[in-house]
Structures are given as structure tokens and as C-alpha cells.
């Protein structure tokens, strides 16, 4: 027994499966060199959308998958990020880089002030409350003159592409690297989070809140922490997307579809697993973009039919998401004896 205890102490703290690490390293490298092969703008756009939704879905995965609170209004934090950087740039000429930071701080503050009263609500009631909050943000911004009301704000074009103004007119490649950077950093941070005291305690709150509180965990506090972290991840994607399309308007930025898409993608890929959102996004974004091409403007409905179908199949056959199709030994840490 003594030797087994000593042996256990020597074990690595996290999954060190060499093949998994090698695959991740190779994939990151491939993503970094991808633009060098001169892909068409369409493929760059496709990848940008994948990175963006991968981060947004991960944001939803933190609140829903890690802490167990279903939010149906997560688009609100996307819109807050988009409007923060855009308003600061349009009205005051402040660089979007600073705008991104302001968006992050505002999103966190709003999440905390919403979270303090709302996260006391149990399960379904929290979900309904967030749905209404998501909608009310859209309504407020549709009527708020300073931010352009229903028609929104156009971000004035700079003469030349500029990293300071985060505008690139000749190529999508800089946007590609911008989104890729946020994607990689977000996934590293969330991985780090889930292997920390906070991550462990959030899973405890999710699995059994009564047992969690018997272990000294302040349930409300940890739910609010998760909600704030989730908002912090979401907001910069709004800012970057605004810089990508150079317009912000309430219908797009506070769209209910955002809140629903992040949920669908995460559930499809595998909720509660760090790779789940990425898998869901890598499948649904191409479907969405291709149907847009083949069916034109009306294609929006076709991809929704497809999502509905996939979701039904997943709920019936693979409730743990597509990631549960991968071999177990890759997902769990090595069981050394």
C-alpha cells in the first residue's frame, strides 16, 4: 500500500497522453501556416467563423457545462462587446484594442450584477430569466439614440489597413490570425481553469450542490464567478466581429440566434468537455455557410432544419455529444498502476 501511495504521488497532474499532445501541436501548427497556402477568401472566412463560434460556444460551455447553469441569453455579452469597442471608436476614436478591454470589463460587471439576484433562481428559472435579459438588451439598443438606435453604427473606414484600428481592407488573413489568436488563448485559459481549484469546485456545484456546500463551497459565489468568466470570454468576440463586418446593429449583435447557436453547437459536440464546443462548431459552421451559398438568402431556414435534425439524433443516440464517439483512453487521463 505504501508504495502504491508513493507511486500515485509521482503521477502527472493531468492527461499527458503523448499522442493527444502531438495531435494538438500538429493541428495548431497547421492552423498557423494555413493562410500561407493562399486559400480563397471563402475558406478564410469559413475558418474565421469557426474560430469565432468555437470561442463563443466555449463561453457557453463554461457556464452551462462546467457550472451547470443554462443561459439562454448569452448573445447579450456578444452585443456588449461589439457596442463597447464600436461606440468608443466611432464617437471618441479610441482604438478597438482598448475597446475590447472595456467590453470585457463591462460584460463582467453586467454578468455579476445580473448574476447576484438571478443565480439564486434554480435551474429552469435562471434559464428563462437569461432569455428575457437577452431580448431586453436588444430592445434597449434598438431605441438608444446615442448608439444609433435600430440602424446601428457604421465604423468609419480607415484609408489603409491598420492593426491599431483593427481594420484590414485587402485581405482576410490578418482577421484570420486575430481570431486564431483569441481562439488558442481562450482554449488554453479554459483548460487551465478547469484544472484549477475554481474548475474543480464548479464541477462540484454542477454535480451536487448540497454535497458541494458540505465541502465549504459558497454555491452562489461560484455560480457568479462562472457567469462572469463566461461573459469575459464572449465579449471580445463581439468586438472582433464588429471590426470584421464594420457595422454594429441591434438585430445582428443582440440576435437571439447567437444565444441558440452556441447552445446547439456545444450540445452537439459534447457539453462539459473542453473539446465539445469545437467539434460542434467544426460541423455546424460549414453546414451553415454552405447552405447559405447553395440556397442564397433563404438558406437560413434550411440550416436550422438540419440543426434540429442533428439535435434530435444526438439527444436520442449520443446524449453526451459527438465527443463520446472518440475512444475513451484519449479523453480520460491514463490509468497508471
Amino acid at each position: 500500500m505504501e508504495s502504491l501511495l508513493n507511486h500515485a504521488r509521482q503521477e502527472p497532474l493531468w492527461n499527458t497522453n503523448k499522442r493527444v499532445i502531438a495531435v494538438l501541436a500538429a493541428a495548431s501548427l497547421a492552423l498557423i501556416v494555413f493562410p500561407l497556402f493562399g486559400p480563397s477568401p471563402f475558406y478564410l472566412h469559413l475558418m474565421i467563423m469557426i474560430f469565432m463560434y468555437a470561442v463563443m460556444s466555449q463561453s457557453w460551455n463554461v457556464i452551462a457545462g462546467l457550472s451547470g447553469q443554462i443561459s439562454l441569453g448569452h448573445g447579450a455579452f456578444f452585443g456588449i462587446g461589439a457596442y463597447s469597442s464600436s461606440v468608443l471608436y466611432v464617437h471618441y476614436g479610441i482604438t478597438p484594442w482598448l475597446g475590447i478591454l472595456v467590453g470585457i470589463v463591462l460584460a463582467a460587471m453586467i454578468a455579476i450584477s445580473i448574476g447576484i439576484p438571478m443565480l439564486r433562481l434554480s435551474g429552469h428559472y435562471f434559464a428563462i430569466a437569461t432569455l428575457l435579459i437577452g431580448i431586453s438588451f436588444q430592445v434597449v439598443f434598438q431605441r438608444w439614440e446615442m448608439v444609433g438606435a435600430a440602424s446601428g453604427l457604421w465604423i468609419p473606414l480607415t484609408e489603409e489597413s491598420s492593426w491599431l484600428a483593427l481594420q484590414f481592407h485587402d485581405s482576410k488573413t490578418p482577421y484570420y490570425y486575430l481570431f486564431l489568436g483569441f481562439f488558442i488563448v481562450t482554449y488554453l485559459l479554459v483548460w487551465r481553469l478547469s484544472n484549477s481549484k475554481i474548475g474543480f469546485r464548479l464541477r462540484a456545484v454542477r454535480d451536487d450542490y448540497q454535497a458541494a456546500s458540505s465541502l465549504g463551497i459558497d454555491i452562489s459565489k461560484y455560480k457568479i464567478i462562472a457567469y462572469a468568466i463566461s461573459a469575459i470570454i464572449m465579449a471580445p468576440m463581439g468586438s472582433l466581429f464588429a471590426q470584421y463586418i464594420l457595422i454594429v446593429d441591434p438585430d445582428r449583435m443582440f440576435s437571439l440566434e447567437i444565444s441558440i447557436m452556441v447552445l446547439l453547437m456545444t450540445v452537439l459536440g459534447g457539453i462539459g468537455n473542453i473539446w465539445g464546443p469545437l467539434i460542434g462548431v467544426a460541423i455546424l459552421i460549414p453546414v451553415s455557410e454552405y447552405t447559405r451559398i447553395y440556397f442564397g438568402g433563404t438558406g437560413g431556414a434550411v440550416d436550422l432544419i438540419f440543426y434540429g435534425l442533428i439535435l434530435m439524433l444526438i439527444c436520442i443516440f449520443r446524449p453526451a455529444g459527438l465527443i463520446s464517439l472518440l475512444p475513451k483512453h484519449l479523453l480520460e487521463r491514463e490509468k497508471q498502476r
Binding site: 500500500m1 502504491l4 501511495l5 500515485a8 504521488r9 497532474l13 484544472n195 484549477s196 481549484k197 474543480f200 469546485r201 464541477r203 462540484a204 454535480d207 451536487d208 448540497q210 454535497a211 458541494a212 456546500s213 458540505s214 465541502l215 465549504g216 463551497i217 459558497d218 454555491i219 480520460e332 487521463r333 490509468k335 498502476r337
Partner: protein, 240 residues
């Protein structure tokens, strides 16, 4: 010396007194056994002490602090650990992760928490199962998991709700031995037990409840002979 003192504790649910005017003390370092027929209010008493249910009347003093109106997590941080009658393991986490969550009550660093959890898992004799998911463990193993998880929070007082309930006969001696080992390590213990033989063997003092009220308190050999306790267990025979 008292580590816990309960004074006039009571609660009623819809007019039924689940606990009524209960007073007792727990001495530092002892094992207090709590017995009583089903529905006597034993688990309710634990819920009142640990803050899961708010008392209507009375107070609970732990280690010099009045903890009567505190939340469960605050009470845990002050040093009362508990296990649940209906087990509550984190089913989709491994045994090690379960116990680490307990260890994080006192530690911030993941490596320190891991090493501390491993030591306690070794203490409850489950080290070879450390990477098994809680849902894969047997009932007896899950009881050990709950004990280990509570121990990891470094409690001064540990409340155990039917540790030997629902496990097969062969598993019981090991669990009893573990309880005694825990006492020897310096933890004060209050344990709810249905098995009279076990409670008589391990307890320093016994508190007997019936219909929400304290009916007896004393040394095991005295409790055994107490008429009210015998009545409560065997049922009073009314003479027509």
C-alpha cells in the same frame, strides 16, 4: 470539554415536530452514537446542525461560535464535516477528484490538494481505485469516498449518517474499523446508526430519539437497559 452544544433545538414541518426541544453536548474526541426508529428525526437533527435546514427554535454552539443561522458552507469552513444518508458522490468525477474537492476547502494549490487527497484515500484503503469514477464504485466504497471527502476538509467534528447502512455484512467490520481509526486520528464523531450492535461497540455516549424528541442520553450499557428506548424500538403494548 464540549466541542458542540445543542440547546432546545426544534423544527416543525406542516405542524409535525420533526425535532422538538433537543439538547445535548458532544465532548471533544468522543464518538456520540445517535439512535432511534425510522422517522425519529435523526437526519433532521444533522440537517439543523449543518445549516441545511433552519431551526425554528434553539441554538447550536460549535467550538465557541453560534452557528445556528449560518449557511452550510460557512459551517463546513468552521470545521464540521458530514456525510449523507442518501449518498451524494460527484458521480461523473473520479474518486481522486471527489476527495480533491474536499481538500480544496483548505488548500489552493492543485498539487498540494492532490497529495493530501491521495493520503486520505490511502487512509480509507481505496488507493487502487483512485482513478475510478464515483459511479463505478460499490456502495461500501462510496461510503468510504464520502468519509474521505469529508475528512479532506479537516473537520474537527464529523457527522456520519448511517455509514454501515445499505452495505453487505462483509463490508461492515472494515467500516467500523475505519471509524475507530478516524477517532484515533483525533476527529470527534457523531454517528447515526441503525445497527445496535455496532453502536454499542463504538460509542462513548448514546443519544436516543423518538418522534422528534430526546428520550435518553448516556453510556451504552445504560441506554441498553433504558425502558423508554426499549419501548421505542419494540413498540409499546397497550393494555386493553
Amino acid at each position: 470539554m464540549n466541542i458542540l452544544s445543542v440547546e432546545g433545538l426544534g423544527i416543525s414541518f406542516g405542524g409535525i415536530h420533526a425535532n422538538r426541544d433537543i439538547s445535548f453536548n458532544i465532548d471533544q474526541g468522543e464518538i456520540l452514537g445517535i439512535i432511534g426508529p425510522n422517522g425519529a428525526g435523526k437526519s433532521t437533527l444533522f440537517d439543523l446542525i449543518t445549516g441545511y435546514t433552519r431551526a425554528d427554535t434553539g441554538k447550536v454552539i460549535f467550538d465557541g461560535n453560534n452557528i445556528t443561522r449560518l449557511r452550510p458552507d460557512k459551517i463546513s469552513n468552521l470545521g464540521i464535516g458530514r456525510t449523507f444518508q442518501k449518498l451524494k458522490p460527484f458521480a461523473d468525477l473520479t474518486l481522486l477528484e471527489n476527495v480533491m474537492i474536499g481538500a480544496f476547502a483548505r488548500e489552493n494549490d492543485i498539487k498540494t490538494a492532490r497529495d493530501k487527497a491521495l493520503e486520505i484515500i490511502d487512509f480509507v484503503d481505496l488507493i487502487e481505485k483512485r482513478h475510478h469514477f464515483a459511479r463505478e464504485l460499490s456502495t461500501g466504497q462510496r461510503k468510504r469516498l464520502e468519509l474521505a471527502r469529508a475528512m479532506a476538509t479537516e473537520p474537527k467534528l464529523l457527522l456520519m449518517d448511517e455509514v454501515t447502512g445499505g452495505v453487505d455484512q462483509k463490508t461492515i467490520p472494515g467500516l467500523v474499523e475505519l471509524i475507530q481509526k478516524m477517532k484515533a486520528s483525533g476527529v470527534t464523531i457523531a454517528t447515526i446508526e441503525h445497527n445496535i450492535n455496532i453502536i454499542m461497540e463504538i460509542s462513548d455516549n448514546i443519544l436516543a430519539l423518538d418522534q422528534g424528541q430526546k428520550i435518553a442520553y448516556g453510556k451504552p450499557k445504560d441506554i441498553q437497559l433504558n425502558e423508554q428506548v426499549i419501548d421505542a424500538y419494540l413498540g409499546r403494548v397497550d393494555v386493553a
